[in-house]
């Protein structure tokens, strides 16, 4: 039984982590078309925020809870800064954003190393997350459940934002036709900034979750960025539903493969499976088509 449950539950937690990272990307990449390779470093910023918060709020039981909104803010502001300084000039050439943000990612990594040192810093798991519950032989850590809850909460909040507010329509309109949106009275500048802020902020929250797994280190972002992009792509650009399914699918499939073979082979095979999957659904899970050549 545990051979079945362990990868399922552990994989779901990995998937949740991917989901938080990918949700931000689903906004900045899926909605706005910006390929932000520095998104991983926003994750890293979230992790360092968790560490710094613990220096201030020394009670680790509450510091993580404090860290969540602070990390959202920190990473969000970083994202905003990136948008204002660089991205705003590049909306008409999305593929180029990839290269610019690679540069930003290099800068941020080096900066983290110079500020915090090459050695990682510890982030302590709060007492109430320190433990596990036995699920058919798998000692399911509370921390993993917390990650899943966190991801679902982020998903719910983002989903509501997109669905029930005018902002949701505005962001879609902006990405689909910037000029037209502008002439429909949408302030595309505001939309861009809000979107980048929220998308990057989500990465900050993901970073707090990651810090509970691996503490902090300057290279933390690189670990997640490509999988997160892959999730967004497999899920279909601009479709939250697809992103969710893809995140959990990648997390759980990887966990089973890890269980059966090895971590390395699991990575290789999962990437391979995504490629095969895109053969079947070339535009991702749920991306919708329009007519003609447009």
């Amino acid at each position: 039984m545990d051979a079945f449950t362990t990868p399922l539950l552990a994989g779901a937690a990995t998937g949740a982590l991917l989901l938080i990272a990918a949700l931000g990307l689903a906004l900045t990449f899926g909605q706005m078309g910006v390929i932000n390779m520095a998104h991983g470093e926003f994750l890293m910023a979230g992790a360092y925020t968790a560490y710094l918060t613990q220096q201030v709020v020394t009670n680790t039981d509450i510091s993580i809870l404090v860290a969540l909104p602070v990390a959202f803010l920190v990473a969000g502001l970083l994202g905003l800064l990136l948008e204002v300084a660089i991205i705003q000039w590049m909306y008409r050439r999305p593929l180029d954003t990839l290269l610019v943000t690679v540069g930003v990612s290099l800068l941020l990594q080096q900066l983290a190393k110079d500020v915090f040192g090459a050695q990682g810093d510890p982030v302590h798991t709060p007492g109430w997350l320190d433990g596990n519950v036995d699920v058919f032989g798998y000692h399911w850590p509370y921390r993993q459940m917390f990650t899943i809850v966190l991801a679902l909460a982020a998903l719910g909040a983002l989903g509501a934002l997109l669905k029930y507010t005018a902002y949701g329509r505005q962001i879609r309109a902006t990405v689909q036709n910037r000029d037209l949106a502008e002439t429909m009275g949408v302030s595309t500048r505001t939309v861009d900034r809000v979107t980048f802020f929220v998308g990057s902020g989500l990465a900050g929250i993901g970073g707090v979750a990651v810090s509970l797994i691996s503490g902090t280190n300057p290279n933390l972002g690189t670990t997640y960025i490509i999988s997160a992009f892959l999730v967004v792509v497999a899920g279909g650009l601009g479709q939250l539903k697809g992103t969710v399914i893809a995140a959990f699918a990648v997390g759980i499939v990887t966990a089973y493969l890890t269980d059966w073979y090895s971590s390395s082979m699991a990575q290789v095979v999962t990437f391979g499976l995504v490629v095969v999957f895109l053969q079947l659904r070339p535009q991702g899970l749920f991306t919708v088509r329009t007519r003609g050549l447009a």
């Binding site: 329509r169 879609r172 037209l180 007519r291």
Partner: protein, 226 residues
């Protein structure tokens, strides 16, 4: 209402408009005519703010809005229907409208003008036919409740009886006296019927202008048949 003063504009290093001046009075309707590539669309893009000027000024209600972004000009009452049946393809017809206003009554009102759209509310705009998209585009702009409509070949691709409908709407709105119109149109007859002044554009310059009406037909034809 809207005034262009000595505007030059273009793309990259190529100039398309050369020292164009034009005025649309409050409640007035102006037609711009010219051959393909004369710069009509460019002129309208400058007016809405999608294209920066190289020289000259754009004034709205006497205020210099040359540096305003389009959405600010829209907030001040400009409504723009671009050429090319543009829509937000991944959003449904209804969402396209709701982007502008979620007021159910207002939406109903424009749907009465374009009844064909009623059956298409749940369809994604990218799946509509060309003419359906154009109707949607006009409806969407009307929904912004503009004080001034800027229309770039609004009847292109629209079936004749709907063209007549659009013409009637424009006439009705201008007749109320609170709507100004700047219209680019290839159907000279339609254009002149709906407006009270015209400008002819040749290679980016205004080569002739005058009062509208049926009498202007001959003048425009000569101006354009160079």
């Amino acid at each position: 209402m809207l005034e262009l003063r000595g505007v030059s504009a273009g793309y990259g290093r190529t100039r398309v408009l050369e020292d164009v001046s034009l005025e649309v009075p409050d409640g007035g309707a102006v037609a711009v005519m010219g051959h393909n590539g004369a710069g009509k669309t460019t002129l309208l893009r400058v007016a809405v703010g999608l294209l920066p000027v190289m020289r000259g000024q754009v004034l709205l209600d006497g205020e210099d809005v040359t540096r305003f972004r389009p959405n600010k000009r829209v907030a001040r009452g400009l409504g723009y229907v671009p050429q090319g049946q543009l829509s937000f393809p991944q959003m449904t017809t209804l969402e396209n409208l709701q982007l502008v206003s979620t007021d159910r009554a207002a939406i109903d009102e424009v749907l009465d003008t374009f009844p064909a759209l009623r059956d298409l509310l749940a369809r994604r705009a990218g799946l509509l036919s060309g003419g359906q998209r154009q109707q949607l585009a006009i409806a969407r702009t009307l929904l912004t409740k503009p004080r001034m409509l800027i229309l770039d070949e609004p009847t292109e691709g629209i079936q004749p009886n709907v063209v007549a409908e659009i013409e009637a709407v424009i006439t009705a709105l201008t007749a109320r006296g609170d709507l100004s119109v700047l219209l680019v149109e290839q159907h000279v007859g339609f254009a002149l019927r709906s407006t009270d002044a015209y400008y002819v554009l040749e290679s980016g310059r205004v080569t002739s202008s005058g009062a509208g009406g049926a009498g202007a037909l001959e003048a425009v034809r000569t101006a354009m048949a160079v």
